[in-house]
Every structure is written in C-alpha cells, then in structure tokens.
C-alpha cells in the first residue's frame, strides 16, 4: 500500500509538473511523438550550456537520435552510394579522419582537414571557419558539396522515400512518414549532439581539483606521474600559454584564434565568413580531447604528430596580423616561438595524453548500426 501511495504521488506530481511547463516538445506534438532522449551530462560539464544550444524545433528524441545514427553511417546520402559521414569521421579517430584531406565521391580530395565530432552540443559554431551556427545547418553542406557527397537534396529525399526502412524510421522520429531534407539534417544533428566525451583523466583531474584541498592531493587522486604534473603546470603557465584556449573539460574555448600558422592570412579563416579583417587567419580552436587520436593536426592537416605540433609552437610560429596577442611576443622573439626545452615538450605531450577517452571511441551507441 505504501509503495502504491508513493507511486501515485509521483505520477500525480509528474502530470502536474508536465502540464505547466511551456514545453516546446508539446507545441510540436504533431511532429514529435517518441520519447525524449535524456543525455548523460558528465560530472563537471555544464548542463545549461548543453541544452542552450538545442533548437526548440529539434529536441533530442530516442527515435530521432536512432535515425540520425543510421543516416550518419549510411552511404545513401552520397551521390553514388560510396561514402557516408563516417567515411571522413571515424569513431576510432574520435570521429575525425587520419587523412590530411578526406576523399569525397570519386576520390575527390577535400580542401580542409575533417574536424573531430566530440562534445559538439556545447558549441554554437561549426566548421573550422565557423560558417555554420547550428549542427542542423552544418549537416547540409557535406551532402551537397561537390567535393564531398555531391548529392542533391531532391535525390536524398527520393532515395530515402524508396527505401524499405527509412519511411518508417522518419515516422517514428517525427510523427509522420514525411521525409524532408530538413528532417535529414535534424536527425543528423540529434545524433551528433549525443557524441559526448567526459571520461578522461583530464576530467578526473579537474573534478579532483574542485574537491581537493591541495593541488598535490588532486594530482594523487587523478594518478598523475611527475612528467604529467610538469606538463600540466606548463600548460597553465604564460610561457606555454595553452590554457587561455584549451582549458575546461571541453579542452577548447570554442572561440576563433590565429595561432601563427601563416604569415599572410588575408581573407582566410573566420574572416572569410564575417568579412571582418580582424578575423582573418582565425580558426576554431579544436578540442584537445582525444588529441592523440585526431592526427593530422590543424585546419590544413599540416602536422602528422603531436610532437610536430609542439615543436611548431616552440619554434616556428609566424607573426601574422591577427596572431593571438599572447603568442605575438614569442613569434617575434629570437626563438620563433615559446622556446620550450626538449624536456618541457616531452612533459607537455605526456600531459596531453590525459585528454584520451577510450570509453568514447568504444561506446556502442556511437558505432555503426548496420
């Protein structure tokens, strides 16, 4: 009897709570009929920032995420059925590509390195130059791009309509069987929002720092060795100047910066999107999460190894017009960079291993469903 009363209380309460919330899902009742997808926000991550970026007309649903996952792995979206999103975004590489430039249909080479897809729900700008402001918007381009999937939206819709399973999948996800290109991008966006990595030693360390009296006890809790501790301390100094762009659980500020790759940056990067010369040469700061798995590095994939990246920052930065102000003195200095000693470079790379999250790349929910 007692358990019945408790259950009754819970049910009545839920009904009343739900009835008074001005729920965007409720407004879209004709479209969204399946159950909400409840993401697991890792400890230390911002829940409010996660939900803030989800469009009102595309809430996460179980069936929507399921459909998005299928579409992500299905070559049906490409012109000749040869490639899928997964062809350039491999789970084993933290959903990036180990090629400098990925290959589109007919092995057409791309012009920019494929970014990792990880914790994108916390971002509101996409592509290296930030030309998309939502995941839904981002999902359009690779399908239509002549150097990627090279397909038309009409063909995509037609192929999906004629497929044995998709009409039903769209019905389950959106409440009716209508297949639109917008719904394709919505489903892809939903799946990508569920790609959450929050189980690295970096996370353990950050959470330990919050709960520990001293840094040393946090290091102990997170199991850092001496080299990793030295790398962490260097990461946090103005000498290495990593933390302004790569701190927090996300390992990125999600902002745009010029890190001194090229001398002449006119009309490149974020500046090509905004038209503001002050944004020339600025690219989205990539996450350090699973950095060991996301080679090659930088927007043009110029560095094959982390060692090359650290060496670049240490001695080869270019003094471009919008170079991050913390890097300018170093780029202009006699050493051409941060001037890190070999042991400092080694420690920094040891520290970067903390960002590895093997549970992310082994998560069955992210694997190919076919």
């Amino acid at each position: 009897m007692k358990s019945f009363l408790v259950l009754a209380f819970v049910i009545i309460s839920i009904v009343f709570i739900q009835s008074c919330v001005d729920d965007p899902i409720d407004k879209k009742k004709d479209e969204i009929t399946n159950s909400p997808f409840i993401p697991i926000i890792p400890e230390g991550f911002s829940s409010s920032d996660f939900f803030k970026n989800i469009p009102v007309d595309n809430p996460l649903t179980v069936k929507g995420v399921e459909l998005g996952r299928m579409l992500f792995y299905d070559p049906i979206l490409s012109k000749d059925g040869s490639i899928s999103c997964n062809s350039c975004h491999h789970l084993n590489n933290s959903f990036s590509d180990n090629k400098k430039f990925s290959l589109g249909v007919n092995n057409t080479p791309g012009i920019i390195n494929a970014m990792p897809l990880i914790n994108l729900a916390w971002s509101s700008s996409f592509f290296w130059d930030g030309r998309a402001t939502s995941l839904e918007q981002q999902a359009i381009e690779p399908i239509l791009s002549v150097i990627e999937m090279h397909e038309t939206s009409a063909n995509v819709i037609e192929k999906l309509k004629n497929h044995a399973d998709y009409p039903n999948k769209f019905k389950n996800a959106f409440g009716d069987g209508e297949i639109t290109f917008e719904r394709v991008t919505k489903a892809l966006a939903q799946f990508q929002r569920t790609l959450i990595s929050g189980n690295s030693r970096w996370d353990v360390l950050l959470n330990a720092i919050k709960s520990s009296e001293t840094l040393d006890s946090a290091f102990l809790k997170a199991g850092l060795n001496q080299s990793e501790i030295a790398g962490f301390q260097l990461f946090k100094t103005e000498q290495a100047e990593c933390f302004h762009c790569h701190d927090t659980h996300l390992g990125t500020s999600n902002l745009f910066e010029d890190n001194g790759l090229n001398e002449n940056t006119d009309g490149t990067g974020h500046g090509a999107v905004t038209g503001n010369p002050n944004d020339d040469g600025k690219f989205k700061v990539p996450t350090l999460r699973n950095i060991r798995l996301t080679a090659p590095y930088m927007h043009d994939g110029r560095f094959k190894t982390l060692e090359e990246v650290v060496e670049f920052y240490s001695s080869d930065m270019k003094n471009s017009k919008n170079l991050n102000t913390f890097l300018q003195d170093d780029a202009q200095g006699s050493e051409g960079g941060l001037g890190l000693s070999p042991i400092q470079q080694k420690n920094l790379i040891a520290f970067l291993e903390l960002f590895s999250d093997t549970t992310f790349v082994n998560n069955p929910a992210y694997k190919n469903p076919f």
Binding site: K2, L5, A8, F9, I12, S13, F16, I17, S19, C20, G44, F45, S46, S47, S48, D49, W122, I209, K210, L215, F232, Q233, K236, T237, E238, E241, F243, D247, T248, L250, S253, N254, L255, N278, T325, F326, Q328, D329, Q332
Partner: protein, 244 residues
Amino acid sequence: MKKIFSIIFASSLFLSACKEDEPKPEVPSSDITFTINNIIQGESLTDLRKIYLGENGEKYSVSKFQYLISAISFKRLDGTILETNSISYIDAIKNPTNNIVVKNIPDGEYSEITFYFGVDLKRNKNGGLPNEDIYNNFDWPVTNGGGYHFCQLEGNFDDNGTSRPYNIHLGKNPNQAKFTYAETFSTNNVFNKFILDLNIDEFFKGPNKVVINKNLGAIMENDSLQNVFAQNIKDIFKISQLVE
C-alpha cells in the same frame, strides 16, 4: 487515509505552482538597471582601429576588453544590507553599452550600492561561479591561485615601429575592486537607473602611472604588476543615478 490527504495536498502544491500569473510578492519590488559605458580618452570604446596615446605618448590600440561585475548589493537606511549573488560578463568591444538588470529589489529607501569589478572574494575560487562556459573560459590558473579573471584588456602598442602586444589580465584575491555609490535613493518608482562610466584610462594613469611597454605582454604571474593595476582600477567607475 492521512497519507492520501498528504498526496492530494502535495499534488495541489504542484498545481498551484502552474498558474501563469505568479503570485505577487508581499513587498512591492522593482528592477534596478545599471548601464555601463566603456570610455577611453573621452570617447566610447568602439573603434578597434583607433590609435590612442598613452601616458608616455606611446601609441596603442584596444582589441579586447572583457570583465566581470559581481555582487551588486544594496544598503538599507537601517544599515542592513541586501546582498545579491549577481554576476555579469561584459564584452565591451561587442557591446559598448551594457545593461545589468538586478531584479526584484524591494521598494524602499537605500543609502548605498556596492559592487565588485571582478569576482567578489567569497566566490573567487575554482568552481565559485555558475558552471557555464562563459565563466569557465575566464578561469584563472589554479597553479597561480585559482579563481577567475577579473578582466582581460588586450591590444597592441607601437614599440619603435614594431607592433607589440599588451595583455592586462587581472585576477587573484584581493585584487578585485569594490565600488560604492553612497547617495540615498528610493526605489519606489519605476525609474531606477544608474550609470556606470568605466574610464579605461584609469588602468594607466593613476595612482600609478603605467607606460604601455613590452613588460605588459604577460602579467598574470607578475604579482607586483597585478598589485599596480589593482590600485589603478579602484577609480575606474564613476557612478551616478539617471534622473528622469
């Protein structure tokens, strides 16, 4: 039976919480608006291309000015203090004029307003502010005391023909500046607006004269420069009440 009544009662609480018209507070209250103007050499900070002249005639520009304003509090006439946990992030370049609205301040007579430029001492620690990227990106390295940046003032200066950066990033207790507006005012009307004129020149001119030079490229680990600027920012705000 008692349990059933308890359930009905508890459920009715949820039901009453659903009403669109929220119950009015017993004490009438008002929203207080603070309008911040970021001023440099007598003008609004708007033009990133503008070249300013520093204390030693050095030419400099401003490319970034972001800061936090926290703990706006109100002192009643009886001496008691109404504390708020307010925290506001200001990007002066994106928004030359910014409004901070403190909601639901009980109407009455007040003798003082106080607030911090930066983060108040109590919350200036790792994880002290809401877990949002906008504040997390303002973290001050835990290896250097922790807490948050109070401000980031960045730009370039002309170093004998070479453009060099300056990065005035301030943080660490007790370097935040507390400001007080000590004039009696009433909030029992609908026009509760205050003006905060932030004079960027104060960073460089007083009480310590600071010449922008290559020593300002990175100052987060320089406690003596942190202290110099902590003294200089004590007068960056001029506070006034906007009269209708």
